[in-house]
Symmetry: C2
Subunit: 138 residues, 2 copies
DNA sequence: TTACTTATGCAACATTGTTGCGTTTATTTT
DNA sequence: AAAATAAACGCAACAATGTTGCATAAGTAA
């Protein structure tokens, strides 16, 4: 799916900056922070524009927002951004390479319990060092 | 359990500041941020000292660190700080009053799956508006 | 093309995180 | 009880990030 199509489907204006940013996310396996983008688009896109893009993209679920144990926000392209917007996946993020993988959904029985509460946000992030990085450091 | 005892058991020096902060946590039902403490102890305890206390207390599991969906860190006194340091509870935090309740542990079958990965941190925070706050606004 | 709306860049400021260092204080050792 | 040791503290300073307002530029619709 092309970046411009995704933007249009989400009622976003299609600008060069947005295409650049979204394409960058689409080809990146790892979770990116605002800082990563600032480096990548240094002297090209303003810090505040990036900040606002990240907000609107994650609000529209084009990107998935992750919060790690230090409170750092990072974002990954959400492959499910087009279809099923409501389903929920926990994520695993490698502390070393920032690679993100999707984990299986929580058991339905457990989710049922949770849904008795009024839920706006459900944040699950598992952090550790992935096998690949573990092997590198041995 | 008294605050001073908890500090001693965790190899922390017992100072007045630490007693004040820990006692404040022990009598608070809600999750507190660094900012909350800065207000509470304005002109009494330095910002950096609070920052360092929060770090060492949560490292020693005297406090439990929560990260919300905006990346804001908050802390609650961990009732289990003395016994069972390894067990893990997800938390529910009310976005309105910051009240925190413990949720049941994840099903063991699911945890088993997770433990195949190298896990350092497991962050689960459910956010929403608690019943009490919901009723207030009606 | 014009009108309308959204996105952008810039400035400015708030909040929080973080480190170093000299001083003070709690604890341990003598 | 006094001296030695190690930890905690306050202050200064700076980095990173979050946040808003506003004027300008650019995309989209009529």
């Amino acid at each position: 799916m092309e970046a411009s199509v995704i933007l249009k489907m989400n009622a976003c204006r299609v600008t060069q900056h947005r295409l650049d940013v979204l394409n960058y996310f689409m080809q990146s396996k790892i979770a990116l922070t605002q800082g990563d983008l600032e480096d990548k688009f240094k002297n090209k896109i303003d810090r505040v524009s990036l900040y606002r893009m990240l907000h609107s993209f994650s609000e529209k679920k084009i990107l998935c927002k992750l919060v790690d144990s230090k409170g750092t926000l990072s974002y990954v392209f959400d492959k499910h951004s087009l279809d099923n917007k409501d389903h929920f996946h926990p994520h695993y993020k490698c502390k070393s390479c920032n690679d993100v993988i999707e984990l299986p959904e929580l058991p339905e029985s457990y989710m049922k319990q949770l849904k008795k509460l009024n839920i706006d946000e459900l944040n699950i992030l598992v952090e550790g060092t992935c096998d690949e990085c573990q092997n590198k450091n041995e």
